[in-house]
Symmetry: C2
Subunit: 253 residues, 2 copies
């Protein structure tokens, strides 16, 4: 109650209205209420508005979304099955706090899957797909011009989901969205420098490589991009996580 009424981290996201058809593909046959909760938390994590280890109390979520406890618990269960939320017995739900090993797994999986995604796209990509990607790049540029940090972060991650969407394959899209969201948590935990999440125009060169039809170049670009992010992490030590800070201040360092 206290946290969320002061600073509500679950605003309606821009794309929640725009492409409603995509939502169906995501999770098949889920009550709308439930889906909204899942989507909002997903978005909030992607935008780094919800930090790892943040407590998600049932009462807070019930009041925030105006639904019963059952819906909230179902949503939390779904989120936990995707590694976004961690359910601790008798303790409650928390935004997941990926271990260094999980971080490795997520980035290895992304490297493999997204390499395949761009490689296939060099073979064939619809004009609609190219248009969507280019317009996405434009949005990113605009956000950077406005210095809109939230949007920059959101769009930067969403770009990779947008790439997956070009395949018209809900399975791939869902997997990539999960991995991108978990990456957001990983960057929040282990990121060192500011630009670790969004190297400026690497996205544009990925598209260029795709439309030029050169598989090798496209692979190199996406791999370079992902490794760039991965290498900016310091998996040895997690930084800037408030709960730890509090513990440091009160206890031993």
């Amino acid at each position: 109650m206290q946290l969320l009424t002061i600073f509500n981290p679950f605003p309606p996201t821009p794309n929640e209205m725009t492409n409603a058809t995509d939502q169906k593909l995501d999770t098949l046959r889920a009550d709308p209420d439930e889906q909204i909760i899942v989507d909002r938390i997903y978005s909030a994590v992607m935008e780094q508005k919800l930090a790892p280890r943040t407590k998600l109390s049932e009462q807070t979520l019930c009041e925030t979304f105006g639904v019963g406890r059952m819906r909230v618990r179902r949503a939390l269960l779904l989120l936990s099955s995707q590694g976004i939320v961690e359910l601790r017995s008798n303790r409650g739900a928390f935004i997941a706090c990926p271990s260094p090993d999980e971080a490795r797994e997520v980035f290895e999986a992304r490297l493999m899957i997204e390499t395949g995604i761009v490689r296939e796209l060099t073979r064939e990509i619809s004009t609609a797909g190219v248009d969507a990607l280019r317009s996405h790049i434009k949005e990113e540029d605009d956000a950077r011009a406005r210095n809109d940090q939230t949007e920059i972060i959101r769009l930067s991650g969403e770009f990779h989901v947008e790439l997956a969407k070009c395949h018209n394959n809900s399975v791939l899209t869902r997997v990539v969205r999960e991995l991108v969201t978990r990456s957001s948590l990983i960057v929040a935990l282990f990121g060192t420098n500011k630009d670790s999440s969004c190297p400026d125009d690497e996205h544009a060169s990925i598209i260029d490589a795709i439309v030029s039809g050169d598989p090798q170049s496209a692979e190199d670009n996406i791999q370079h991009h992902l490794l760039h992010v991965k290498n900016s992490l310091d998996l040895k030590q997690s930084q800037n996580v408030e709960p730890d800070l509090a513990k440091i201040l009160t206890g031993r360092m």
Copy 2:
């Protein structure tokens, strides 16, 4: 009650005891009861003991597994989020009945992801991984020698999960397991000839290609293997699904 007591499709699977450590990787932080239900249904689908559209009534599952309704509903929700089970409002839970389009998506995703998996394995694979794969092949051969149809089907699918496991990456393993299980449903629905699920020794040649370190050969082998299965499907028409048969017999053809 009636169906499951007469013919219980949820036997304890062989690997349920053997490698208990892998289960943890699968779904993080789930109550054991819940996990057992999910795993059993997963296995039953993989072994084609549960056909698409089979009703999974809550009462039946409660009695079968000796747990409360809550656990059952949570398990069903998890299964539905992975496309194994379909929840219809006020109707209950059913083993999923993938559409032709879903079938396409699953096989496209498998083609992409498993290609990446074997390609990376040609670069590097642990001796433990090779041993596990070879011993798996031996199990398959044994099952074929015994003409143990259930085991043949189960091991045939599990082989692909075994390949994924060689990466020591729970994300990849989970995704592949989901896709393999859904493939089992797809084959049950659209499979034409008997051997559509398990071409005899293609698995062995995949391993050979991997250990020989030739990426191209390994890619060709896995792609050939998957396309072989995919091409044996008739996505136009679903066969041998009892509920339809019943409808045909009572109504118009």
